[in-house]
């Protein structure tokens, strides 16, 4: 009954569903109307719901998140598209100073149920400033949720949950996966939880923790390791804020070894928070150093050098071996 969808199609399906279910859901962003978004995530929505519910924005990245704050305090549920995460920086002031704290600064009088969507990460031969992953900076802002799907079905269920959530959610879409694969998605309106990791693969020898596009390399590495008789558990964090350390700790308690994989620069990435929690609550379980395979602490290069910069399956496998061989 489900359909085989790509991740970007799953996003579109969830948006369409949410707009059908709730008149208060409006979509806004640059080129989301007639064009259907630069990645076509909003394709067809303007035709179906009109330009009063699918609003093209002028190039005003600071304004339109603020606009969403005003819409949401007045009862709408805006879903805001940023064309690339690299252009999301101007939104941080509104996210940190207003969206994330309107509820608490008014002690619940005004609230901001809104979703910010942005494609993120590298790997699509895009121009300068189009490959950033600074999810860690956003996840550091109290009062937000930050969610990253790793597959079409996850995108569908998590985006529905994000739109229905009574608080602001930043929803980051790994653009490298937008059209990378199809998956069966049942458009049944069932949301996924926004506070839970997903275990993509069970294993006993080590735990790989990752999210977004890097699930591909983690799963490939796990496959590879399986060939060597090593059983790796792969956890898709999915919601990086709030962070479900319970699932991760439970896994590491069993395996004793952990490799964290993400595209963002190593220093201060979300991997740091996970490793820090392991160094605290999980210390006694650790049989080997917590290893991070990440983007380097350098500017993501233009695409000729990109393959050197982002985690590869090989780097993940190597890290896994190092962790496993640790005495």
């Amino acid at each position: 009954m489900g359909e085989q969808l790509t991740l970007v199609e799953a996003v579109r399906t969830a948006l369409a569903r949410a707009m059908n279910d709730d008149d208060n859901v409006v979509v806004l962003g640059e080129d989301v109307g007639a064009l259907g978004g630069v990645f076509r995530a909003t394709d067809g929505l303007a035709a179906a719901h009109g330009t009063d519910r699918v609003l093209d924005m002028p190039i005003s990245e600071s304004m339109f998140v603020g606009l969403a704050v005003g819409l949401s305090t007045e009862g709408f549920r805006p879903v805001v598209e940023y064309q690339f995460m690299g252009f999301l920086y101007p939104a941080l002031e509104q996210l940190a100073c207003h969206a994330s704290r309107m509820r608490t600064r008014t002690r619940g009088r005004l609230t901001c149920p809104l979703v910010i969507r942005a494609p993120y990460g590298g790997g699509v031969h895009a121009p300068e400033h189009h490959s950033e992953s600074f999810e860690a900076a956003i996840a550091h802002i109290p009062g937000l949720r930050v969610v990253i799907p790793s597959s079409p079905a996850k995108a569908y269920g998590l985006l529905l949950a994000a739109i229905r959530d009574p608080d602001p959610v930043v929803f980051l879409e790994p653009k490298r996966l937008y059209r990378a694969a199809h998956e069966e998605v049942v458009d049944d309106g069932v949301a996924l939880p926004l506070d839970r990791c997903f275990t993509l693969r069970s294993g006993a020898d080590l735990t790989m923790v990752t999210w977004g596009a890097c699930t591909v390399e983690a799963l490939a590495a796990a496959d590879h390791l399986a060939g060597d008789g090593i059983s790796a558990e792969v956890i898709d964090v999915a919601t990086i804020k709030p962070l479900d350390m319970t699932t991760i700790l439970e896994s590491v308690r069993r395996t004793g070894r952990c490799v964290i994989v993400h595209e963002a620069p190593r220093s201060g990435g979300v991997g740091a928070e996970i490793a820090a929690s392991l160094a605290d609550d999980g210390l006694t379980s650790l049989l080997a150093p917590v290893t991070r395979v990440t983007g380097y602490d350098a500017v993501p290069p233009l695409y000729r050098l990109e393959h050197h910069y982002f985690p590869t399956t090989e780097r993940v496998v190597d890290a896994a071996h190092r962790v496993l061989e640790y005495a």
Binding site: G70, P78, H98, T104, R105, R107, R109, D167, P242
Partner: protein, 357 residues
């Protein structure tokens, strides 16, 4: 337009000082309404003086007085309908009081208590906005909500002369122009942004003409003339309500006090500039008008001062009597439902809160 009320439409680079004061024409408002406005101005001034005093005596934090600018806020407050939406900066206490915000609430806000933004009788208006200019997009978003729902409401957003330099203010006004949203922007041009005078904030001859960049009209009004403000802002609101789109109103006034209680304006502006501006005191001006109209005199003035003092005293008592929130409040309205990930932190806070009081 509005020639009878001390305003001048600003078209592009032309500059005209607002010339016709409202005093030169009879007011359409009844004496009761004038007195209501006068009371709001006096209450505001009383509140401001007390808030400064509380800060000076360590009973409150930093505070921003609206001394000298009461006509802007009260003009706005009296022009707005109950269902309209006020999105204020931090010197609009005069408007807020008229819209049901309690003096005790604002004492709480400046006194470091979030409950001061949980207005008991005004559930929709925005709280005081501290990061300059960032609230303007909220007003535009709310106006978009009103337009999309076809509601006959208007958002009124107030900001300072300094705020007009913020890019997001421009972005917000530009979008309001595109959709002709029901929003009125009011610049409280009090001539100073902390130590930076109006002339060094922008080379634009008027701030009203900034609307030109966004495709709608800007107008200057004498911001010390509460009736002029009320009239110009009121007309802009009604025009917006009828679908006429946004308007930018530049109210020309003067910041008679220090920027905030943390400021010392004598470092950057001469005292005699300030003294000279006292001649335009908007409170005295409306009082003069009331006296001239024969509806005001020493008795009523004394009565009013006493009444306002009592109201503010009571508010201070209420503010100071309020028990502080418990530590758990830090988490209790952070999310609709606190994620389990933070439950342990909340528990720790409560446990510590009990031990250290």
């Amino acid at each position: 337009m509005h020639e009878d009320v001390g305003s001048v439409a600003v078209d592009g680079a032309r500059v005209d000082a607002p010339s016709h004061a409202s005093e030169s024409r009879p007011s359409a408002l009844g004496a009761d309404e004038l007195v209501r406005m006068y009371r709001a101005m006096v209450l505001t001034r009383t509140f401001d003086a007390k808030a400064v005093a509380l800060q000076r005596t360590g009973r409150s934090g930093t505070f921003a007085s609206s001394l000298g600018q009461e006509a802007v806020a009260v003009g706005i407050g009296s022009a707005m309908g109950a269902d309209d939406l006020l999105v204020p900066s931090f010197r609009e206490q005069g408007a807020q009081f008229m819209r049901g915000v309690e003096p005790a609430e604002l004492f709480s806000f400046w006194g470091g208590d979030e409950r001061g933004s949980d207005f008991a009788a005004q559930r929709r208006d925005f709280p005081i906005g501290i990061p300059i200019g960032t609230h303007v997009a909220h007003a535009v978003g709310a106006a978009l909500a009103m337009q999309l729902r076809g509601e006959p409401r208007v958002a009124v957003c107030v900001f300072g002369d300094g705020a007009t330099s913020r890019g997001d203010v421009y972005e917000s006004m530009n979008y309001a122009g595109i959709r002709r949203l029901p929003v009125v922007f009011v610049v409280n041009n009090n001539q100073w942004a902390i130590s930076v005078p109006r002339a060094r904030q922008s080379a634009a001859a008027t701030l009203a003409q900034k609307a030109t960049a966004c495709g709608f009209d800007g107008v200057q009004v004498d911001g010390n003339d509460v009736l002029a403000v009320r009239s110009v802002v009121g007309d802009a609101i009604e025009r917006a309500r009828r679908g006429g789109g946004p308007m930018l109103v530049e109210a020309l006034t003067y910041r008679l006090a220090d920027h905030t209680t943390a400021d010392d304006a004598s470092r950057y502006r001469p005292d005699d500039e300030v003294s000279a501006q006292w001649r335009n005191d908007p409170v005295a001006r409306l009082r003069g008008r009331l006296v001239h109209a024969g509806v005001w005199g020493r008795d009523r003035e004394e009565q009013l001062l006493a009444e306002c003092a009592a109201v503010i005293e009571a508010a201070v008592e209420e503010y100071e009597a309020r028990r502080p929130e418990s530590a758990a409040a830090i988490f209790d309205s952070l999310y609709a439902v606190l994620p389990v990930a933070y439950a342990a932190q909340r528990a720790e806070l409560i446990q510590r809160g009990e031990t250290d009081g």
